[in-house]
Symmetry: C3
């Protein structure tokens, strides 16, 4: 089940270019979408399905701001309306492709999959993208063959980092033992916590003095469908006040992650980890990127194994632990919004009856 009235990330802005062949095919929440740029640079998102005979519009041809289906040549404007049927003057009303609202923000392209009248850009999560002047950030990508609900649960509880990412980005057992505060938002969950007096993750250890201990602050905003924005700061241990940022800062970074369900069992995962120019040092950004890449391969293996097992035993009885508080809240919000949408369309149908 997907929430329809939500912004879904369709990728990094650089992926949709002006070239003739730049028709990008995506699957978002079960729908096929084709993306392209108009001459003025605006991105258009349409259903990737010709209304004539269901050919792939992403196999079509961009002509100026319009898109021609290269099966039988119907041409569509960026508003989805058919503008030409070769050899025929009459154009039927229904020769029309569904068009989705699009916004570019922080180097991500966002597509609204629900009622266009409700497409409020202020609902798009704030992020720090690759073109932010103060951070060194590179865009990354991975595909994971698992339900985006499993991703939501994964991201809403960083305790797994101590185990799944033991050899990569974990800070020992610090995250497993932390007691994060989760605050429910209208469309997500806000999570905030410190880990104190811990070593830096193994893979960056050699960049710090031997025995260096730190305090780290996690400030996370997670929103539907599955976006996850982390402001991650590291201070010399003992120098930072709770709730404030007045310590000796050794790393100021943002990790911005947008996970888009392709269908019920696979996701497109767009992520980055950017270090502030003020706290970056030679090789650090590269190292963080590699560490995160490797960590996401660890997640991929874990989640795909979990997905297979859940499909095999859908009624298997599980139990909760303390660390499930965050995932529980995030999935509760998601389910609540999905249910509200369902009841709204039911009452709409009832009012029309």
């Amino acid at each position: 089940m997907f929430i329809k009235n939500a912004w879904y990330c369709a990728g990094w802005d650089y992926q949709v270019s002006q070239g003739k062949t730049a028709l990008i095919a995506r699957k978002i929440a079960g729908e096929r979408v084709v993306l392209y740029r108009k001459l003025n640079g605006d991105v258009v998102a349409m259903e990737d399905r010709c209304p004539h005979r269901q050919a792939a519009l992403s196999m079509g041809s961009k002509e100026g701001d319009e898109l021609r289906c290269m099966y039988h040549g119907l041409k569509f404007g960026s508003d989805g309306k058919c503008t030409e049927i070769p050899g025929q003057s009459n154009i039927p009303e229904r020769a029309c492709v569904r068009v989705f609202p699009v916004v570019e923000k922080d180097n991500w392209i966002w597509v609204w999959m629900g009622d266009p009248l409700k497409a409020d850009p202020s609902l798009i999560t704030d992020a720090v993208g690759p073109s932010h002047p103060d951070y060194n950030t590179r865009p990354c990508y991975i595909q994971i063959d698992a339900d985006y609900r499993l991703e939501n649960a994964n991201l809403a509880d960083l305790s797994h980092s101590s185990f799944t990412h033991d050899a990569t980005i974990a800070m020992g057992w610090a995250q497993a033992l932390a007691k994060p505060q989760h605050k429910v938002l209208p469309r997500g969950v806000k999570t905030d916590y410190w880990v104190r007096n811990v070593p830096v993750p193994k893979f960056v250890e050699h960049m710090f003095p031997p025995g260096f201990m730190c305090d780290a602050h996690f400030d996370i905003t997670q929103t539907v469908p599955c976006n996850w924005i982390l402001h991650f700061r590291v201070f010399m241990a003992g120098t930072a006040t709770e709730g404030e940022s007045d310590g000796m800062l050794v790393l100021d970074s943002w990790s911005c992650q947008a996970i888009t369900p392709r269908d019920e069992r696979s996701v497109d995962y767009y992520y980055s980890w950017g270090v502030s120019k003020a706290t970056d040092r030679p090789g650090l950004s590269d190292l963080l990127k590699e560490g995160l890449d490797e960590a996401f391969r660890e997640d991929k293996a874990m989640l795909e194994g979990q997905q297979k097992r859940m499909e095999e035993k859908p009624n298997f009885k599980t139990f909760d632990i303390a660390a499930d508080a965050g995932p529980g809240k995030m999935l509760w919000v998601l389910d609540k919004l999905i249910k509200e949408e369902a009841s709204q369309s039911e009452s709409l149908i009832a009012s029309m009856a």
Copy 2:
């Protein structure tokens, strides 16, 4: 849904040879078929399924004119009857494989998938095969993972050539703007039209004088299940009379295409494009073959994309354009014959009750 009482192409004649291992496995209209040649050269087609335990007879061994299942050694005559059970003298009545009528014609092997009593060789489409003395023709093949109905629609409307085959075999927009006449036949559709005063397709342009313009005549017979025979002639522009062949002929060619559904969503596609020896020139046959190969890869991509989308949204509402007249007629004939078969077997059942 398949028509059973029809001849299906099982491949090129050279593919079934006399060698010991020459047992060719095919899937035709959902049925597994094994083909081999008898000592006198006749081709035998049997269900590729041993009646004993359903092993593949195509993994068997040819012994003279007979076929031995190499699981437990049962041997079957070319009439399908079991002739030997090793170590056992009694042979049960039902030890019998279904045999299909076979005809070789124009270098294609044709198999009748329905009631053998109705297998009328005069229903086989006429074609110009590789061994025709007047044409230089080579046999080609592609597999396409799409419903043969989509292939029928594709071939019954060449307007798609102007778009899908834009970079290969198209003659500009000429085919999209042509107004073909479609005549319904008892088992297919006959299509006839001219395109006038157009450039030759890009990929053969360099073989003609700069700016060379031509008139081209398409004479097409399409028959069930999905056979398509085109007599394609090109004249110097302005020299040919409508309906006649009296102009300055620069290309006389046949493209013969037999598409056999393997199952509901994949086809075996046997095709050729042969140029008359009188109008061939060095390299032209090769070029046409390569052009057609490339065009069929274009079709393959388009149709497989369409197939996926139709499976995802089987109830998606489409609309028709003028170019759909040919496909509409062809699919109407096909559906009519399928329905007639169904009602005949129903009335047969009723008469026996």
Copy 3:
């Protein structure tokens, strides 16, 4: 359908080692199983499914004799009980993994998939494993994508050897013409027969004098789910008494084969063919191994073709031949035991109602 109260082979003993990463994942009769060795060498078999969120325990980490799930860090003892939830002192009762009884015997690891109280080690088939001092034996493996019932039928009737293994391990038509005696056992079938005055299999022919003829004795015990133990002895023709072993022995060998269904349509096949040191000769063991490897690739092709055809036409009517006596008996025993299990659990449910 599987019999649950049975020992299933989970592989060769050397496959489960002491290393940190030595968590072996298997699928046995539809259940996911993870195997590891304790410090004392005992093998533990657990369901490969964390009770917390269904992550793969085989992606976990061995800590002493315990297994930690590396998703959220729950640790389980070798009895399946959770011993630690990081950051939480309370451990719920249901934090428990299913554990399966394990026995190592003759270099195979055996897992009991049913009621642990019924796990009687005396039900494990006797075999001659690679570490048997009197035989030169190497462990082999193949995966076959077919129902284990088809494997049972294949092994219960060696007549197929004369055809399927014509070019490899067959002794001409001798096995097809033999009249094996099949005796039904409580959990399998015992089969015993001689073939007399036949050439040795083609692939070992060059190891014997030209024209060498032999008598061969097959002594087979086949048990549920699908284990097959053959004592295979070859004598100089005419020197051995029926039922006795008093002839001129030229080959004394055991082929031990344990076939474990992964699910309803694939099996893990662990097999060996070992020659007594007394009758081995340079190169013979290697040759037999290669011959058997090749024969099992022949079986794989045949059974997978059969499997596909049975899925396509599940209601296809087949018929029996004399050679089906063995397979018929073996499948009858298997079905009987499966049915008995089903009725026992039904009466258990009834008695509790």
